[in-house]
């Protein structure tokens, strides 16, 4: 308690600068990430590594697009859909973007209700998130089918540079896989929330550990990351 009081007094007298605080946090404590549990810290570190995976995909896309002598197919035309007789550029991608952002919104609210111990609302919002995620994967499957019918292959396409197909399938394929895994994880955790596992302290079937509502937030971190990656794919692959 004395240590706690002492710290609050010094904090009031002089507010240390940002670099001072950073070095203090790394050097003075036994636990550098105090406030974040090991589960959350580990999820963040996993997401950091995943950032590099997607970073390398987008970088290789940049490299092949910059170095090809053939024109790059125009994404605005390639991903256009005809709805009611009018050609709308990129419309499916725009809808997919809105669906994924909405799923992020419902996920953030599920996390907030989880910490308020509102079991039913949390489970329903997670279910809504999973449904929106499944919808996203469904639209992606539709998009893949359409492009494959139009003759896009990893080794060529009718409109220009051959590398278009390989980068498209690799980047959106890996992202879609992430979304699919996220949907499964959300359904598993939503079931636990619905059953009240985090209130009763029931042990998990795989780890035999007692979960808590923080698990919802950790699943949410993964889900928001998937949305985050889509923000970059949307801007750099579809709009560029």
């Amino acid at each position: 308690m004395t240590g706690f009081a002492f710290r609050s007094i010094t904090a009031a007298q002089t507010r240390p600068g940002q670099w001072r605080r950073l070095s203090d946090e790394w050097s003075a404590d036994r636990q550098a990430f105090r406030g974040a549990s090991w589960r959350k810290a580990m999820m963040w570190i996993f997401l950091l590594s995943d950032t590099f995976v997607f970073g390398c995909f987008l970088l290789s896309y940049m490299t092949v697009r910059m170095s090809t002598t053939l024109p790059w197919p125009n994404p605005s035309k390639v991903f256009a859909l005809e709805i009611g007789g009018t050609e709308l550029p990129l419309i499916l991608i725009a809808i997919m973007t809105f669906v994924l952002i909405s799923s992020s919104g419902t996920m953030a609210m599920a996390v907030a209700y989880g910490y308020r111990q509102e079991r039913v609302k949390t489970a329903l919002l997670m279910l809504a998130t999973a449904l929106l995620g499944a919808m996203f994967v469904g639209m992606q499957a539709f998009e893949w089918t359409k492009l494959i019918h139009e003759g896009v292959r990893p080794w060529g396409n009718p409109w220009g540079a051959d590398q278009f197909g390989s980068t498209f399938f690799m980047i959106t394929g890996f992202h879609g896989t992430h979304v699919t895994i996220g949907v499964i994880a959300l359904l598993v955790i939503a079931r636990k929330v619905w059953r009240g596992d985090f209130d009763t302290g029931r042990r998990g079937f795989f780890t035999s550990q007692r979960g808590r509502y923080e698990n919802v937030e950790i699943a949410g971190l993964y889900w928001h990351f998937v949305d985050l990656v889509w923000v970059f794919i949307f801007a750099l692959f579809y709009l560029w």
Binding site: Q18, T63, W240
Partner: protein, 110 residues
């Protein structure tokens, strides 16, 4: 003390905040779609696309992923390493330009 500890581990923020960020993400996505819809070209297009992208990413990381309320040690451990990707971008820009140059010089059309 227990209230303080609960505040540190539990991220409980008003629902209104999430709805507000959700709304902003919708507006920003609509804006980046309109960039394509109105066929903006050149520097303005790249500037707007990157601007909307960075603002959206910032909102998601800061509010939805609660980075704004995490400890500085965690924030820096997660957000600084991806900056290495920018160095990688610079290296690969040189590499791609060189490849393009040699393709134009020696194997045009290939």
């Amino acid at each position: 003390m227990s209230a303080g500890a609960a505040h540190e581990t539990g991220q409980s923020h008003p629902i209104r905040l999430y709805l507000l960020v959700w709304g902003w993400l919708f507006v920003l996505s609509a804006c980046s779609y309109l960039v394509d819809y109105f066929h903006l070209q050149g520097g303005l297009r790249w500037f707007l696309i990157l601007l909307f992208m960075i603002v959206k990413a910032g909102l998601i990381v800061a509010v939805f992923m609660h980075m704004a309320w995490e400890r500085l040690a965690l924030v820096y451990a997660i957000l600084v390493p991806p900056a290495a990707l920018l160095v990688f971008v610079a290296i690969m820009t040189f590499e791609a330009s060189y490849t393009l140059l040699t393709r134009i010089a020696f194997a045009l059309g290939g």
